[in-house]
């Protein structure tokens, strides 16, 4: 019987020939990631309480991204704790204030196909875009990983999610995942792994695929995964990863899936998720004319270099509406530099964008992109729960970088296909 890519990774990590859904196995962790909030401040302290060292310093990556660039005593304290802990524990891979962990981690060459990784953040699923199996856990759980190098895993059922056809101009990975969330719900794939495949995925850029696996968290999945191809290898190579064996990490033709589902990529319209859940997704036309105070391009979900390029395609030669703030917080510092070097950032700035520092910021209701009382916003981020990106009275719509940019120009929710 064949195995899926996820089963192959879990079998290798648990030292078995094969695994099947429902098995509870102990896996050896290839890489553990924590950030300033889930790391030194919480799990770091707990590790010290256990009085044991990090099991393998080569396999731990600490990335500060949550409470960075904030002028409050509490945020500064978190940064100090993070800096001090990494110094006193001689953390080898401490990436300080260079952008959001889920993008920085692969960008700095830490992710490769076939790895079994654990991250202390729910969007750790992002690394699945590179054929790695990465799950999110909480602070005490990652303490256990840092101490022992292992973790228990219930082998999940596999869902094969085929995106058929090629996406239309102005439609992106974000629209695909919002469509899936709208159709199947925020817990549609609880405890399962969703494997994205098909022509639509093959035609997407490797960076855009990261948006699919990033928001595997918003369809309840344990994680999302995409088998690596030439585009994966090319992007990882540009990020300094060499010797990738993409062929070793593919699902077998006779692998068993609990469900085989499809999304019609060629017929897909831009999607917008209304307040206050990503599952409130519908075609952009359903929400046209909703007036906006703010449009935000940001987070691990929606401000990668490719995302900024999408926004620039819409914004070239246009101006943001006078009553709407347009804020851009590039996912990483390096991507901001790349966007500046190639002229993408200038297009955004000329249109009226205010460029913010890289970090989780507005997505978690911190910094300059936090929504004001009663404000209505649209953003390329992943969640719009009550109280997440602003006070209870604020309202947030989720959409792709194309749609966020088009809406910034219109001052109300707008269809990007009319502006390309």
């Amino acid at each position: 019987m064949g195995q899926t890519i996820s089963e192959k990774i879990l079998a290798r990590a648990s030292g078995r020939e094969t695994v099947k859904p429902g098995d509870i196995v102990t896996c050896q962790v290839d890489l553990a990631m924590v950030h300033d909030s889930s790391g030194p401040r919480t799990s770091g302290k707990k590790l010290d309480e256990l009085g044991v060292p990090v099991w393998d310093m080569d396999k731990l990556v600490v990335i500060s991204d949550h409470y960075v660039n904030l002028d409050t005593p509490a945020a500064k304290e978190v940064q100090d704790i993070c800096d001090d802990w990494c110094e006193s524990h001689k953390v080898k891979n401490f990436i300080r204030n260079q952008g959001i962990c889920h993008i920085v981690l692969p960008q700095e060459g830490h992710v490769r196909p076939g790895m079994f990784c654990v991250g202390a953040d729910s969007h750790s699923t992002t690394a699945g875009a590179f054929g790695a199996f990465m799950v999110g856990v909480g602070a005490t759980e990652i303490t256990g990983v840092m101490a022992t190098g292992d973790i228990w895993v219930r082998v999940p059922d596999n869902i094969r999610m085929e995106v058929t056809g090629e996406l239309s101009p102005g439609v992106a990975g974000k629209d695909v995942i919002l469509k899936i969330c709208g159709e199947h719900g925020i817990m549609g794939f609880g405890y399962q792994v969703v494997e994205f495949c098909g022509e639509g995925v093959a035609n997407m850029s490797a960076q855009d695929r990261m948006t699919l696996t990033n928001m595997a968290a918003e369809i309840g999945a344990k994680t999302g995964i995409i088998a690596p191809d030439a585009k994966t290898v090319e992007l990882l190579s540009s990020w300094g990863v060499s010797g990738i064996n993409a062929d070793a990490w593919q699902s077998d033709a006779d692998a068993v899936y609990a469900k085989r589902l499809t999304v019609d990529g060629s017929a897909l319209a831009p999607q917008v998720a209304a307040p206050s859940s990503p599952e409130n997704a519908d075609d952009v036309t359903a929400y046209k004319n909703v007036k906006l105070d703010q449009a935000y391009l940001g987070a691990c979900t929606g401000a990668k270099l490719e995302d900024m390029r999408m926004a620039a395609q819409v914004l070239k030669g246009k101006k943001v509406a006078s009553g709407t703030r347009f804020l851009v917080a590039p996912s990483t510092v390096k991507m901001r530099e790349q966007a500046a070097a190639e002229g993408t950032l200038k297009i955004l700035e000329d249109a009226g964008a205010m460029i913010l520092p890289s970090g989780c910021g507005g997505c978690i209701g911190l910094g300059d992109a936090r929504l004001a009382e009663n404000a209505v916003g649209i953003s390329s981020t992943n969640r719009n729960f009550v109280g997440r990106a602003g006070p209870k009275s604020s309202k947030l719509y989720l959409a792709s970088p194309f749609t966020v940019a088009a809406s910034a120009v219109a001052g109300e929710i707008a269809d990007p296909r009319d502006m390309l």
């Binding site: 509870i24 909030s37 889930s38 919480t42 707990k46 309480e49 256990l50 009085g51 044991v52 409470y67 409050t72 005593p73 509490a74 945020a75 202390a120 953040d121 729910s122 750790s124 999110g136 856990v137 909480g138 602070a139 005490t140 759980e141 303490t143 256990g144 101490a147 022992t148 228990w152 925020i186 817990m187 609880g190 405890y191 309840g220 344990k222 859940s277 978690i364 209701g365 911190l366 969640r383 729960f385 009550v386 109280g387 997440r388 209870k392």
Partner: protein
């Protein structure tokens, strides 16, 4: 293992931003931050929750972030057992890691705030003493009950390292 307590009943899709708002996570007084638990949904919960109470919800409890403060704040409010029709997976694991048993019960819609419950974790039964009803719940995998019995993952790990040395 049995636990008796008074129910606090909530609906579906209680997310981690409601349970542990960002204002609490960045509070200048971290020791009191738990009092902001569910402030945007039911501000009466945190001030009135008592030691030993049971948190009851419907589908998808704990969706969203991995922030362990979500179950930790419930625990700080006094919650000792959590029942729901389904759980977000990270929240579910976080509960056990903090020694708060999280039980999957398909009939939580029959429970009301204030009901006295007696939860039998071995048998997988919830007795509603107020309404005179009994509901089935899924039994908990043995390795998770062991973590609870040890007092949470930290104590479990301490035991593991003690044995090893």
């Amino acid at each position: 293992m049995n636990h008796k307590g008074k129910a606090w009943k909530f609906g579906a899709n209680i997310d981690t931003d409601l349970l542990a708002p960002i204002s609490a996570l960045t509070s200048a007084k971290p020791a009191e931050a738990y009092t902001e638990c569910l402030k945007d949904l039911d501000p009466t919960f945190a001030p009135n929750c008592k030691e030993g109470d049971i948190f009851v919800a419907e589908e998808n409890l704990g969706i969203g972030s991995s922030r362990e403060w979500a179950p930790q704040y419930l625990q700080s409010c006094g919650i000792r057992v959590v029942l729901a029709k389904s759980f977000a997976r990270i929240f579910y694991r976080n509960c056990f890691n903090l020694a708060v048993p999280a039980l999957v019960c398909a009939e939580t819609h029959k429970i009301s705030t204030g009901d006295q419950l007696d939860v039998d974790m071995e048998k997988g039964e919830v007795h509603n003493l107020t309404k005179g009803e009994t509901y089935k719940c899924d039994t908990v995998p043995e390795h998770l009950m062991q973590i609870v019995a040890d007092g949470g993952l930290m104590e479990h790990l301490k035991k593991r390292f003690k044995k090893a040395s």
